[in-house]
Symmetry: C2
Subunit: 242 residues, 2 copies
């Protein structure tokens, strides 16, 4: 797999972007680094002449952008996703700095589609959005002024992706085939349902149970076969409960 085809597997996902200029700036940043797959989750204003002006020749990236209504849709079919965050959060997965994170993302790109996810300009990503991703990523910014422009953050990550892809990536740890987003989400849904049926989990009083479980399974990066095994166990247990 060569550099270009690895970069073709990277989706840049912008969630709930407020300013269309930043979408254009992100498209330009992507194209300068050889990335082309832009996915917009519920952008406030798009398409827009402001976005097109800021894209400055990267119009093809804007024109081919996929617009979806949820982060789940944006991540459909991916085997790995990393989410930018400006701060450490309670119950989040272990964080990586941008350079290290891009190495991880590149290794998964050898297996299938991957995503770099960027939140809203002011509010960033919600905890729910973050929980859908495998890896929280921080750019090592000035602690006294960490307010990176959204397009500038996209530029840094795309630059790091290009740098990482110039070196042929190693395979991810272990030899198994990574489960894709939908398979893992199917497992979480199955697990939650089984916990509710068994009386262990009360959605009215959730005690952060699902975030804790997502954190646990998110860390191991499940393989396809493992998802099959876990769901087999759940199904077996559910029959016992009946």
């Amino acid at each position: 797999m060569n550099e270009a085809s690895l970069l073709d597997r990277v989706r840049i996902v912008l969630t709930r972007t407020s300013h269309p200029g930043n979408i254009g700036g992100a498209a330009r940043a992507m194209k300068t680094m050889g990335l082309s797959r832009l996915v917009l989750v519920s952008p406030h204003v798009f398409p827009s002449e402001i976005a097109t002006a800021r894209a400055s020749g990267a119009n093809d990236v804007l024109e081919n952008a996929q617009i979806v209504g949820s982060l789940e849709e944006a991540l459909s079919g991916t085997v790995f996703s990393a989410a930018m965050t400006a701060r450490r959060r309670e119950l989040s997965l272990p964080m990586q700095w941008s350079r290290e994170a891009v190495g991880t993302v590149t290794r998964y790109a050898a297996q299938g589609d991957v995503a770099l996810v960027f939140g809203n300009e002011s509010s960033g990503m919600t905890n729910e959005e973050l929980a859908l991703c495998h890896l929280p990523v921080m750019i090592p910014a000035n602690a006294e002024y960490s307010s990176l422009n959204l397009a500038a953050a996209v530029q840094i990550l795309c630059y790091e992706m290009r740098m990482a892809c110039l070196v042929r990536p190693e395979a991810p740890d272990g030899a198994g085939v990574s489960a894709e987003f939908g398979e893992v989400e199917g497992f979480y849904g199955h697990l939650e349902q089984a916990m509710i049926e068994s009386g262990f989990h009360d959605p009215a009083n959730p005690r952060k149970l699902m975030p804790r479980l997502r954190r646990l399974f998110g860390r191991v990066r499940l393989e396809k076969e493992e998802v099959g095994i876990l769901r087999g166990i759940l199904s077996a247990l559910q029959r016992k409960v009946d």
Copy 2:
């Protein structure tokens, strides 16, 4: 010397910038990475509300920006300068990619002030401007679309500077004290004068002699003592010519 004081030695020099928005974007990019010293060479429009709006909280960087009339002034007192360029040029010094270049710049920052120089948005740097700097630097962009926004290029280099400064830099090769900009320029002036007096160099038919000599001496990064020796030799030879 700690990380912060190294970053305090880095000047970001923007030459003949056309769009004030890019000056504001550059100030914001600098501050997110902990850099503060902005030098503007003959900006087309500055100060400007557009610059202030794009700086988005990095107003202190804009307010403290130094405005000068020439790149020579901007580089005064520096011991090392690196210039961004989008293409390889005839007779230029050996080029480095951005990541490698920032390592070099960081090592010189342990000795004194250093500069990262960015040309005009459309025309880049002139060959004359480039000849005043020690190191041409390229950002490894997509060959089919290398049009980085100016503020985005500043963001990448400032990010790389911050990453480089997180690791304590080694001293530059050798133990000598680097000559500063004015000392080296003084030597070039002296050399040119001596060549003219001797009849070797005809300014009306320059045969790219000075660019070739700048390329030669630029590569070795002269030390203070060496400049003294070279000028001593020139003075001695000039007395012979008389």
